[in-house]
């Protein structure tokens, strides 16, 4: 069902008019209330009054993740702290965390966006939503929670983990919609099989899965194993959380909630705005957020926008599923990992050099990382036991830095492929196309 036909099926002109007016107000607000933006706009020679048409948006400088980090924790709030009623944060595994603050209105908008997502997945106020995203500072759990309640549906706040219980509740409560990361959904589906259940024993109709990249094959497999339609949801803590965009039943891209987020696709090298259908980096602007509006945020996610008609009747622009990143960030088991973090951990170990290679694969449904390091005489031993101990020690060191477990393997010196003298650092065998 279409939760909000007025917003989701708006005519082109009306929508563009509304977006311009919202953007003008938003840009003025941040200029007046957030010193960071005033400084940034002034330095770029841009004044809110210069924003006459949507084309003028390109005059506004981008906001980067580093900008948000520097503002840690509350530097980008555009309202007095009293008005913030909820705070979320990234995990900070890749450096200073990014904090996101929400007013009551922001939480309502979040709920509205999630309600639309649930609608796209065929849900309504009668649906029981088993929410297996983690509850906490992570936006997944609470985001879905807000939306389910906003809509008047029933939320089952499972959070992640405790698989046996998840399956029992799914069966006993007859959950209609499952929300979690696709890899956790796959894990649940496989556990279900192992326990001897079939899709007929549960009454799930749909899944809303996001927070990590996944493939069409994975979708098919999830749909078959769980007897559902699987919907991709996109979002990011910096702008709100999940619900920025979601797939409808036609699965032809994710409908972006354009009355709240303004999307652009840019060439990540030149910053130039690309045309509809061209692949590039997604840039998003909060049109309506009060607590912490983010203007022209470089998401680093690679996608393309599609404005052709969707058979569902929604007129909102669609984005392709995310197929990559414009930086070297890897998302492994839903956690952001930068090769530089792994490098830093490796360099703390005597005898290891910056020649290493990170292999990411997904042999079945869960991501695995293997880190290959070169065996210098200092770390090599005539005893297998000692080499294996060494590998485990390095693995623990890396795990302490990035928060997820890895396998470490010694390889011969200078055996790692190099390009222009530098080792090729990352081989990601997962295929998201």
């Amino acid at each position: 069902m279409i939760w909000n036909p007025i917003a989701e099926c708006m005519g082109k002109e009306e929508k563009e008019e509304m977006q311009l007016s919202l953007l003008q107000k938003q840009v003025k607000r941040v200029y007046e209330n957030v010193p960071f933006y005033k400084k940034k706009f002034d330095e770029a020679g841009f004044h809110p009054d210069d924003l006459k048409t949507m084309e003028d948006l390109s005059k506004i400088p981008f906001t980067t993740k580093d900008d948000l980090r520097q503002a840690y924790p509350f530097g980008l709030f555009a309202v007095p702290e009293d008005e913030i009623i909820e705070i979320h944060s990234t995990s900070g595994t890749t450096g200073t965390p990014v904090v996101s603050g929400y007013t009551q209105k922001d939480i309502d908008i979040w709920g509205e966006c999630i309600a639309r997502a649930i609608g796209m997945a065929g849900g309504d106020k009668h649906s029981k939503i088993q929410n297996s995203y983690g509850y906490g500072l992570f936006t997944g759990g609470f985001g879905i929670d807000h939306g389910a309640k906003y809509m008047g549906a029933t939320v089952i706040p499972m959070s992640s983990g405790n698989t046996a219980r998840q399956l029992k509740i799914m069966e006993d409560f007859q959950s209609d919609i499952l929300t979690c990361t696709p890899s956790y959904a796959m894990y649940l589906a496989e556990s279900l099989e192992k326990e001897g259940f079939t899709a007929d024993d549960i009454s799930l109709q749909a899944g809303i899965f996001g927070a990590e990249m996944w493939t069409e094959e994975m979708r098919k497999s999830l749909e078959e194993k769980l007897g559902i339609t699987a919907h991709n949801i996109y979002g990011l803590t910096e702008l709100m959380g999940p619900g920025v965009a979601t797939e409808c039943e036609h699965q032809t891209g994710l409908h972006i909630q354009e009355d709240h987020f303004y999307p652009e696709i840019i060439d990540s090298d030149t910053g130039e705005i690309l045309e509809e259908g061209q692949k590039g980096e997604l840039v998003l602007t909060n049109l309506t957020r009060e607590g912490m509006p983010v203007i022209r945020f470089r998401t680093k996610d690679i996608t393309a926008l599609r404005r052709d008609e969707c058979p569902c009747g929604r007129t909102t622009v669609r984005m392709d599923r995310i197929t990559g990143r414009s930086d070297d960030m890897l998302k492994i088991k839903g956690v952001m990992v930068y090769p530089s973090q792994i490098e830093a951990a490796i360099l703390q170990v005597d005898g290891l050099t910056a020649n290493y290679q990170i292999h990411v694969s997904r042999p079945k449904t869960l991501d695995e990382i293997e880190v290959k390091v070169e065996a210098s005489p200092e770390v090599f031993s005539d005893e297998m036991k000692k080499i294996e101990e060494f590998e485990r020690r390095v693995a623990r060191k890396i795990q302490n830095t990035i928060g997820i477990s890895v396998d470490v393997t010694l390889v011969e010196p200078e055996s790692l492929p190099r390009s222009e003298g530098k080792a090729i650092r990352v081989i990601d065998e997962r295929n998201f196309d």
């Binding site: 065996a375 210098s376 005489p377 090599f380 031993s381 005539d382 005893e383 297998m384 036991k385 080499i387 294996e388 393997t409 010694l410 390889v411 011969e412 010196p413 200078e414 055996s415």
Partner: protein, 143 residues
């Protein structure tokens, strides 16, 4: 002089062992004894060779990681219970053997066993006190 074993890191890849052996033979190095320890990921080639310096140089020039380790070489009667007598000496002193390998020579009627013991000095002392025949580098050169 004490006997030093060379250990070479070998990836589980086709032709690696041959490459290592070939590098040494080109420099006229004779392999007296060898053993390979392996896991699913890689192997450790352990060698007693005629000339450690030349072997090391040859291997390192081929980018192999090489390490020298002191090992204890014992002449063991080539008959039933031969090895057992030696192991009994070590057992009595509660000394653990990390690994061992053996070879025979046509020139002597003893089997030659290479022991890696975590504490080298302790191992030598125990074996000497127990009456084992310890062989030096020079002894090995002659057999």
């Amino acid at each position: 002089m004490n006997v030093k074993q060379l250990s070479v890191f070998l990836e589980n890849k086709e032709g690696k062992l041959k490459k290592a052996v070939n590098a040494m033979s080109q420099k006229g190095v004779n392999i007296r004894a060898l053993s390979i320890a392996d896991s699913s990921k890689y192997g450790i080639l352990r060698l007693i060779v005629s000339d450690n310096e030349a072997a090391k140089e040859a291997l390192e020039s081929e980018k192999f990681t090489v390490k020298e380790t002191e090992v204890i070489v014992v002449g063991v009667k080539d008959e039933p219970n031969g090895l057992n007598t030696i192991l009994e000496i070590l057992e009595k002193e509660s000394i653990n053997v990390e690994y061992l390998y053996a070879f025979v020579s046509t020139k002597v009627d003893e089997a030659i066993v290479v022991f890696k013991i975590e504490n080298y000095e302790e191992g030598v002392k125990a074996l000497e006190n127990g009456g084992a025949t310890l062989l030096s580098k020079e002894d090995l050169d002659e057999i």
